[in-house]
């Protein structure tokens, strides 16, 4: 494999043959030397090179600064294929369809929260189901579940779980219109029905954070962040088993169809079919259902966070604020307009562990953010920072309007479990003023901050490339892990 550094923070793999498969476009890796060294250490480069062999792929396959080995596509990967003849790959979105992040702003200061942090965290832990096999608090019947996935966040709004502003400040307004629940399997519905409004486990989290640093006071002010120590809340979860099963079903469906189209791929997990086929359209319809499940899942959790804060602080919502700054999806496929070698093209943009970061004046971003660009959220670990950024013009050239989605893992969970005793992790966090509430000690060890890349460097790479601009840096003070 021929990898060359072609500029500051840019590495390139030139198209070559991988076994019987020809890479059709180069791979671009956005990394500084520290990050590139980490990326090289697992099979990330092999995986993103495989992606570059997909039929109809345009311009370049991207590994962002948080990239690491995944299954099929690497995580932190972006690929755009021709909207009609190019490939659609369920594995390019992943099993946790519409996993994503939300940021809520509060009017509280650190001092207000510190006083009651343990009881507040307990209350959040009680009110929001989390952990292995967590089941939501709301009971839906199957026709309500279909209604929910067919209508996205409009469902939450109609049922009193969302404010008008929540829909405006959510990617796609929280509704992928292609959804049609009649195409989703009974299995997916059965696996998902009890999980609406639950956090799950692994790297999903709820965090109470404080503003640590403001980089651009003007934009921060527009987003309602005025000073250090202002409190915010971050939510990270996805479409639970509903989405997992949709991807599993779709992968099998696509795999069987590939034989008819005589498509071969270097890795079975990259199973794909051309966009203009019934099978691809079927996947997109089901994916939209799962995405709408994910939007509503984060919305219900938002609703219960608000309820918990209102009760805990004995103040009303107007006083506490808790408005949604923005909600991003980081595992999703979108059909978008992009410029390829001077020509405007419609592309199937696969974002797997990648956050959309559209620049100012892009038609897809909320009216009130038109002049500043789309807020892009990049969470770190439970012991490090998270960032609120805004998309910049360069993102359209360099990464199909995308940036990193997190710190990106460095070490296997297995290894982290051996290296970081949970009690020590807890003590280290306590020294930094971070309280953690977790479903198990195992998750604390596996999610130890040392198991991830340095998020400050991950974000800095995107910032220096002009993909995004850093606006606010947050650090956690209270963490709930499933």
């Amino acid at each position: 494999m021929d990898v060359n550094k072609i500029g500051k923070n840019v590495y390139e793999i030139t198209p070559t043959k991988i076994g019987n498969f020809q890479m059709k476009v180069p791979v671009h890796i956005y990394a500084n030397d520290y990050i590139f060294d980490k990326i090289k250490s697992d099979r990330t480069l092999e995986q993103i090179s495989n992606v570059a062999t997909l039929k109809g792929i345009q311009k370049h396959a991207i590994a962002l600064s948080d990239a690491h080995q995944g299954y099929g596509f690497c995580i932190g990967g972006v690929a755009g294929t021709d909207a009609e003849s190019g490939m659609i790959s369920p594995g390019g979105v992943g099993y946790d369809i519409n996993c994503g992040v939300r940021l809520l702003r509060t009017s509280l200061k650190e001092n207000d929260v510190r006083k009651i942090l343990p009881t507040l965290l307990d209350a959040i832990y009680r009110n929001i189901p989390s952990g292995l096999g967590s089941r939501g608090k709301i009971k839906l019947n199957y026709s309500q579940l279909d209604d929910l996935v067919d209508n996205g966040l409009n469902w939450a709004f109609d049922n009193g779980y969302a404010l008008e502003n929540d829909l405006k400040h959510c990617e796609e307004n929280g509704f992928l219109k292609a959804a049609d629940s009649s195409l989703v399997s009974e299995k997916a519905k059965q696996r998902g029905i009890n999980q609406m409004g639950s956090l799950g486990s692994g790297n999903h989290f709820l965090e109470i954070q404080k503003v640590d640093k403001i980089y651009n006071p003007e934009i921060a002010k527009k987003l309602g962040f005025y000073e250090e120590n202002q409190i915010s809340v971050m939510i990270h979860t996805g479409s639970r088993a509903y989405g997992h099963q949709v991807c599993t079903d779709s992968l099998r469906m696509v795999e069987k169809a590939m034989k008819d189209y005589e498509i071969n791929v270097p890795d079975r997990e990259l199973a794909c079919v051309p966009a203009d086929t019934k099978v691809a359209q079927n996947y997109l319809t089901q994916m939209a259902c799962a995405a709408n499940f994910g939007f509503n899942n984060r919305q219900l959790i938002t609703h219960w966070i608000r309820e918990t804060f209102v009760k805990s602080f004995k103040k009303d919502i107007d006083e506490l604020d808790l408005s949604l700054i923005y909600g991003v999806c980081h595992n999703i496929l979108k059909i978008e307009d992009h410029n390829v070698d001077g020509t405007k093209m419609k592309l199937n943009i696969h974002r797997k562990g990648a956050t959309r970061a559209f620049p100012p004046n892009h038609p897809e971003i909320p009216q009130d953010y038109k002049d500043i660009g789309q807020p892009a959220l990049i969470p770190g670990t439970m012991g490090s920072a998270s960032y609120l950024c805004v998309g910049k013009e360069k993102a359209m050239d360099l990464s199909f309007g995308s940036t990193a989605h997190g710190a990106g893992r460095l070490m296997s969970r297995h290894k982290a479990d051996r290296m970081y005793p949970a009690r020590e992790v807890q003590e280290d966090l306590a020294k930094k003023g971070i309280l953690i509430k977790a479903a198990s000690l195992k998750v604390i060890a596996e999610e130890a901050p040392g198991a991830y890349k340095d998020v400050d460097q991950v974000v800095q790479v995107s910032h220096d490339l002009g993909i995004i601009e850093k606006v606010v840096r947050f650090v956690p003070i209270g963490v709930v892990k499933g």
């Binding site: 292995l132 696996r191 099963q245 099998r252 079975r268 893992r409 460095l410 296997s412 998750v443």
Partner: protein, 145 residues
């Protein structure tokens, strides 16, 4: 080395297991134990109160493994079941299809009794390998968590 077993290997983000057994049935069963042990590490704590049996038919061995293990995620999410006895009675090739029949013993997962592991989102084909060695079968598999 024991005649059959499994061990976890390093994978940056997910769970990778190496599983082996004296024949295909045995090796497949070990992948299911590895899956169960990801969800609840101490399998000895599971009682055998519930019995399930199911059949899977797929186009090749890899797909059979993928479909077989996916069923366990369904049982866990829908009925809350975990198993510690996995008895694959047969894997047969019929026409162009592979067919597997399994009998399972286990019980409903209970946080108070069972060890808490990690939710498994899905089974993957990533780096999946089913290999016939001299006198045993070795399987590598990655679970998305």
């Amino acid at each position: 080395m024991k005649k059959s077993g499994f061990e976890f290997e390093d994978h940056t983000a997910d769970v990778q297991a190496r599983c082996w057994g004296i024949n295909l049935e045995d090796a497949f069963a070990q992948t299911a134990y590895a899956l169960m042990a990801t969800i609840t590490p101490d399998l000895k704590k599971i009682s055998k109160n519930v019995s399930k049996t199911f059949k899977v038919t797929s186009e090749d061995k890899e797909a059979l493994l993928f479909d077989f293990l996916s069923e366990f995620l369904f049982y866990f999410d829908v009925e809350g079941l975990v198993f510690n006895e996995i008895n694959i009675t047969s894997i047969n090739k019929k026409n162009d299809q592979y067919e597997l029949t399994v009998i399972l013993l286990g019980e409903e997962f209970n946080k108070e009794i069972h060890e808490i592991g990690t939710e498994v989102k899905a089974i993957t084909y990533s780096f999946m390998k089913i290999e016939e060695k001299d006198n045993y079968i070795e399987i590598r598999i990655v679970f998305d968590i």
